[in-house]
Amino acid sequence: MLRIVNMIPRTLSGVTGQDAEPNLAVNPESPQQMVATAFTRDPMNGTRAPVFVSQDGGASWSLRSIVPGGPGTADISVGFGSKGGALYAGILNFTTFNLNVLRTANPFALTPMTVLIDRPNEDQPWVTALTARAGGNVDLDQVYIGHNDFNVQPRTASVELSRDARNGPAPGGFATLSVETRQTVGQDGPPVRTAAHPDGTVYVAFQRWVDVLPSGQNDISMDVVVVRDDAFGGGPAPFQALTDAADGDAGIRVATDRFVRFTASTGPLGQERIGADLSIAVDPTDSANVWLAWGDRVGRAQGTDWTLHVRHSIDRGSTWSADVRTVTNAKNPALAVNSQGLVGLMFQQLVGAGPTTRWVTQLETTADAWATAPTNLVLHTALSASPPRTGLPYLGDYIRLLCVDTDFYGVFSGSNLPATVNFPNGIIYQRNADFATQTLFKTDNSTPVAVSIDPFFVHHTPEQ
């Protein structure tokens, strides 16, 4: 089963914003309940930013503004605890640009989220949460928020961590911890990704920026690093469980001296910026089994590619495979592993050449680490030149894929042109659209609306 839904609700059929960079949380206790985010602004331009919610498994979505800090966010990521239904968010506040860590016991109520952390000089929070006894007799929400903390330069790759995030007033047990142990060029790359397993294993992946290269001030030499903790991040020396034999420092360098052209304000790949792609996922049935994906430029300074790499470890991150999958001219890798060990990789690839290039969003699943051809599902395909961008990121610096039991749940952003050919595996639109004339309409169902970037939800149940 594969279901793809345009998440813009009918009453917002007039939306024309660049609603990029989506994120998703699925309530593991009740997978019919979901919360998603994007760079969607509050329709009233009010004092709180919106989230999308669904209580019917993603078949329909509505919007409500419960995120404090202004009508939008400059980054946002969400995660549910695995029990109890509390939702956590990490945002860059639209007004102050501070990192805010937020909590709500019930995201389906209409009350604003509570601010637990408010700190400047931060970037790209990424929320992972689970509920576990963690050595005690009471279930507690363990929350891990990867973030790039410029307050601790040059070792900026950090995790904001709480061992009991659901209870207590601000800061809700949260404290920050740098997971970078090596020297950097002054900072690490923006993405810091976390993956947590109920047995207490927590992986963190980040991009160590080693040097600015002579070929240009946006050209970076990067190492891809994974650290691990075996006790929910709660031991005396957290995230020190992996040591790189080559230098004796904490953190395995899975790849070294990778070339990155970091383009914050230009869009060399189908109107999109590049330079910060990273994903990590742990097998829910075996915490030794961990998957990693990132992007770099194989052709280095003379190249034009942006290549995704996927690697795999079966010994808790101590050693890693060679690339088991590469995808040329692609971004936004999103990995997840289901309860049967099936690995999912969602990504967005620029396909073709010249004016006919298309962004093709795909979901691949594999049971044998791509040793044989994976199941490949094209979720969305659209001309990369349309609509013209209004800013960056165009599609987003990330998308997200999750698993609950055997099912894969994901979100991505792309052109909302209502064209059947753009959705070869089907699509459901909530907003008014006429696929015969490829036209969007306002709520009155007669006034045309310009094509823009919308968030899309995907739910895939693999065949047993």
Binding site: G14, E21, P43, M44, Q55, S62, N218
Partner: protein
């Protein structure tokens, strides 16, 4: 009217269809929850298109009298839930008779009072913004240059540029015209900065200049960030009439 408009993003006329009911499942229902059939949308943001005969759930304001089925009103509200149907929270209410009376009292008014209030609010916002500026000048862009960056790139870097403005009139501020001014602006298209004002070569008008803060103050004496920081020169008379 203006005070109500300042607190509400939606204004519409309508008739109460049901009391103690909702078209949106997430909205808790009590006797102050009503379903209103829209008569006319008087003001709504571009993304929200209130259509005549659309049924909207309204959480009535605690401070206002309850309504019965069949009651008519002009509702001032803000959105609460946007789904298949819309739910809003009422912030104010005017009877149809009162709306008609206001329109009649405003002698010679060609606009609906809601539209007139909106225009007045927009003008007030510019005036307040001008009052907060360190200087207001009439000027034209004569040069644009990038501020060299030091260190590695950052995702949300503002990409500071400096615009040179040639000012021929100083409206407020400790400046003497004619003069050339250096003004800092964020040229980045990143999500944090893309809505910030980006001067273009040759662009002219009234510039509302603000002092730089922190490290940016060392780059130029003034900064323009807000979308309102550039106004048509025709706003000069409005600003002067309002004591700017």
């Amino acid at each position: 009217m203006k005070e109500l408009m300042a607190r509400s993003g939606l204004v519409f006329t309508g008739t109460v269809d049901q009391v103690g009911a909702s078209t949106v499942s997430d909205v808790p229902v009590d006797e102050r929850t009503v379903v209103v059939r829209v008569g006319q949308a008087l003001h709504a943001p571009a993304a929200v298109d209130l259509v005549p005969d659309e049924r909207v759930t309204v959480q009535l304001a605690d401070t206002l009298p309850p309504l019965r089925a069949g009651d008519e009103a002009t509702f001032f509200a803000n959105g609460v839930v946007y789904g298949q149907d819309l739910a809003v929270a009422e912030v104010g209410r005017v009877s149809p008779q009162e709306t008609a009376r206001m329109a009649a009292v405003e002698t010679g008014m060609v606009e609906h009072p809601v539209q007139a209030a909106l225009a007045e609010l927009a003008q007030d916002e510019v005036i307040e913004h001008a009052r907060s500026a360190a200087a207001v000048v009439r000027a034209q862009v004569t040069g644009l240059r990038m501020v060299p960056r030091s260190g590695p790139p950052q995702e949300h870097d503002p990409h500071w540029w400096i615009a040179t403005l040639r000012a021929d009139l100083v409206v407020t501020g400790e400046l003497v015209a004619p003069t050339d001014l250096s003004v800092l602006y964020a040229n980045s298209l990143d999500v944090r900065w893309r809505h910030h004002l980006k001067p273009k070569a040759g662009q002219g008008g009234l510039w509302l200049l603000h002092p730089g803060e922190g490290a940016s103050a060392e780059l130029a004496p003034f900064v323009v960030i807000h979308e309102l920081d550039l106004q048509d020169s025709i706003m000069l008379d409005v600003l002067r009439e309002n004591g700017v």
